[in-house]
Symmetry: D2
Subunit: 359 residues, 4 copies
């Protein structure tokens, strides 16, 4: 299998999206408390597996005891992600968010249950949040390949700071605009009342037609003719995280902006696309139990200027995260010797560099 050479990230190449400044690592872990981990599964026998699981931990501490504020939004619902209904009813997430392939959602979901009840002795109900895309082009998806141990491993190795992106974890077998996609991430810093806050996105990209890719509005010609279109089973999961204190309704508004980031890359929201956005804020914490019947929280002042900062940061983060997932992925060979090539970055910089480097 191909080697995972670290690549230059978009900013190192000089490609910037939008006006806001990224966080230290330009990924979702720039949001204080957020951690990301992966388990990557690549085997050739007995069946070809190119898949995995990715964990996004939205905050420090016991999430089951003090969930983060959250909202879920469905752009197109041809998808099997779980947990969304309760996220919207209660406005919170009480587990790590796991990403994996379509047919392994059930077993991964059960693994999340095991993870939470192991830590919470009295727990008799918990709502696992699991997102998915379909990696059948490279992975023998019909196999129940993701074990509980892999899920525990991804959660357990989750870290802040630098994270792996591209063909890693749940992104191992994903295809974006006909090129190798997978995990991508970006972040932005916003000043509110004189204090810095962070917004981050992490995507699992697996959608798009090779003839439709746009980077910063520049339409990129197809570099390969023999790659299967990603349209048929394509999807994208977007996770938005922030430490800006926001209510459920505000997080829902944030979530609805993700489609504008997807569209800016050329996405057209195909019939079979499971396009799901899960947003969380750890700027307030919900409490499973409390002696007080009323709580004090903080919330965003929703005028045009403040929301413009926030909404634009979200759109920029989503756009950059998707492009990042392709710029950081390597070529992967999978089932039936299918090869999905990585984006030919050198040729793209040669052909479109001038436009891509513009501000």
């Amino acid at each position: 299998m191909e080697k995972n050479t670290p690549k230059k990230r978009l900013r190192e190449l000089g490609i910037r999206f939008g006006d806001h400044t990224p966080g230290t690592y330009n990924n979702i872990t720039d949001v204080p408390g957020v951690k990301v981990g992966h388990y990557t599964l690549e085997e050739d026998q007995p069946v070809c597996l190119r898949t995995g699981v990715t964990s996004v931990i939205p905050a420090d501490g016991n999430l089951y005891v003090s969930p983060v504020y959250a909202a879920a939004h469905t752009i197109n619902g041809y998808g099997k992600s779980t947990g969304l209904i309760q996220i919207n009813e209660l406005g919170g997430i009480e587990t790590p968010i796991l990403l994996t392939n379509t047919l392994n959602v059930g077993n991964v979901s059960r693994a999340v249950v095991d993870h939470v009840i192991a830590q919470n002795e009295d727990c008799v109900t918990v709502n696992p949040a699991v997102g998915e895309c379909n990696d059948y082009r490279l992975n023998h998806i019909r196999t129940e390949s993701i074990t509980k141990e892999m899920v525990f491993d991804a959660v357990g190795n989750s870290t802040s700071g630098e994270i792996q992106t591209g063909a890693v974890g749940a992104g191992t077998g994903m295809v974006c605009f006909g090129y190798k996609g997978g995990i991508g991430s970006a972040s932005r810093i916003i000043m509110l009342d004189g204090e810095p806050y962070t917004i981050g996105a992490l995507v699992l990209s697996n959608y798009g037609d090779i003839n439709e890719l746009m980077i910063k509005g520049v339409r990129i010609k197809p570099y390969y003719s023999n790659q299967e279109s990603a349209e048929v089973k394509g999807s994208i999961i977007v996770i938005l995280g922030t430490n800006i204190p926001m209510t459920h309704r505000q997080l829902l508004r944030l979530s609805r902006r993700a489609a504008f980031g997807i569209a800016r890359t050329g996405g057209r929201c195909a019939h079979t696309s499971g396009e799901i956005v899960i947003s969380f804020s750890n700027g307030n914490r919900r409490l499973r139990k409390s002696n007080a019947q009323l709580q004090t929280i903080r919330t965003l002042q929703e005028d045009g200027d403040t929301t413009k900062l926030v909404f634009n940061a979200v759109i920029d983060c989503v756009e950059e995260s998707i492009i990042d997932s392709m710029f950081s992925a390597r070529t992967v060979k999978g089932v039936e010797d299918t090869v999905i090539h990585e984006l030919p970055i050198d040729r793209i910089m040669q052909d479109y560099g001038e436009q891509l480097l513009e501000d």
Copy 2:
């Protein structure tokens, strides 16, 4: 036209709904800051008009400058109420809430615009909240009968304390379970963190089949055979108000409980029913403009015990408000000499008193 003799309210007759204690007046104005006003229009020439407009002012002060928190929920959407989309996008209401008949929503809505821009010099956009039911059985509804002055009058005469219910204001021509319905209201006091808070409901009732009426679970036989069924154009608008500080999502959850109050009266949510719930909390105020980009608000701690208090109070208030709308209405004769009789309270107390007086 019939005389509007004040009647005994349900509690004076000994009929109680649920465990919580009502507020002083047992109506929505028990919520501090809430005011209610009516304009009743009854004319026989040139066409028979039995209609009107009812105003519910959700809080003190300039609502346009500092809106209340709010949410809107549609149980069945065969209805023409306006303003609901923005209420849910921003989680707030910025005008008095007006109730009227179906075909006069447009002109009443424009009157609300006039009311708000008169008070706010710079206002170039405002979202009027107007609910409606169809009073065509008693009222010549095709006539554009409600003038701006009537709307201003209803808003202007809105008061706290005791309010008129029954065949008054927007309720003048409404029919509920085949009997005269219209405006009804109730309230409950809840203790949270040792302090009293109030939840109130006000309904515009205009739905139900005469064979289906239930009061406190007691099925009431039809006392008239010649009354036209209210099923065909029936609807109900429920306004829920509280000073408990709640977010949009929490108010939406409150709103969804209204259906359970409606169902307890025998309502079955007919095809043509516009069943709309508008909920507001003046326990926090939104700010149109603010120097601060983050605000501090209070919110309900959503555990099982606290929400049970709140949700049950809502269901009890809605149930009682609907029955109140019938117990306080008088017989009305309208278009083509149609008579819609008031509920025969004496006979009901005689036939079902024992069960109705049970706790």
Copy 3:
């Protein structure tokens, strides 16, 4: 463990809900093509298990190749049911619908995947529909107790005609209004254009306060003081099936009427309640693949009279199904020797028989 003596059903006792005539078996299998099966799990060692799985197969033939029309509606979303998003995006169901306990949704979901891919060689994506309630009061729910074989067994033994109800399958450990609940079902026949059509409901009942139970509007006093309230973790799943050809939007309207049936039993939609409705019609079939780009289907003419037939049948079926779940359940002793008593039918008939037998 207690013996499962067949009990008289409600109609045999003379208790009828609404005007419409039930189908032959008065359950959801009266809808042509619908089958129901159970796997009941009752073990005392090593942990006390009182749980199971119930299968509702919505139509004959390969559901993955030709899904039924369907819609899903959330009354209160404190629940972990899966598959709802895609049901609403595509308006269809492509698997058997499985019911089980809250923490076993993931593994049951994966079992449904295995069931479908075993039958469909090319299947690389499928959307399992799994509903749940929480049986922790009687069952050691933290155990991953439901195996794939149990799911396959429930699906495999699904039959038309008579079905088991009460403390069986997914209903084994459920509690309704403080009494033993679980699976209940009912059906109604409706004439449309001179032809008979069937509407059926099947519920998994697990909600309600012992002080709130109503049967046909009659409030039933609590017969036990020592039973734990079902409020805290209560939920209900309602499955509505019909052969009336209906579109997604029409099935959604149907689904929203279920709340009115629940409310008629005294349900108040508690905070922690996962109240989910899944509706399907096998009167039209969707096609995964087709040479034609346009299809001809039939749909309900939505005027007041026709929808009244349909909506009222739904409300009656849901109300009767819930009461049926209690009338057919036996007493069950579970974890920590907790005993949840069956409804004392003889005493109820003695105390309330006259009212319950009224039409």
Copy 4:
């Protein structure tokens, strides 16, 4: 006031969006039965009025008696459009769709009521569909300027074939990306089962930041520095029409694709944006009354290939309609001598022609 010289349309300049062929007139009236009309109001005394009303009639015949199938979708709900709730409950539209300015929705709505009841003697309920954007930058919006006669005029002069676009009707005072916007339209022909079908869009454009405009992915630099940003009160109404027979759910899916067309022009869905999509199909007609209780309709086969045709046509139509609204608008001077310049087409063709003319 400026003269309305007819301009070359995009296709005449050689600018094409997407692969599908437009209809004869490349606007929404290419959909058989659809008509469009305008009333343009430009007065300088006593206040400066730059506003109007636009009518889109979705089909031939009496819409109240046989409504078209329809769906409404809210991208961002900071808007006052009316009728959307009932459109989604019943899946139909029963009136002409009117577009106007924000504060005149109420009176225009009442005018639609008058229009419908004049034609339907027994009508006692009707659901007017009225969309709006805010033209306060050029128009004295606080004035109740739109009279019933203007609405009747716009409806009455609605025609098929060629239509006026740009600063006309409801578009008279609108601003798009800082340039003069307003009404734009486009259409596409799609072959289904060997027969041609048409999809059309008509937009009322009033959103966007002058620094964000993209045409076919090409970012257009701001040509004016002194134009007020359109961000603050910006909005867009999208009307999608087709004769492809589609159900409500399918029209809702269509509607959700509009956001991808908006995003392709650089739209970012600002806080104050009322972004509303109303979609209709006249390929089936609903019937207010019918002797039959079941109807036969046709519907789209929703596989990946067929939906790709339809969804991409929608996205292309929306993108082109928005750009069309700017390319066809003239410079308008309005309140307080504010001048909103038309897009400098010659300079754009000079600066970006090569890229814009690419396929």
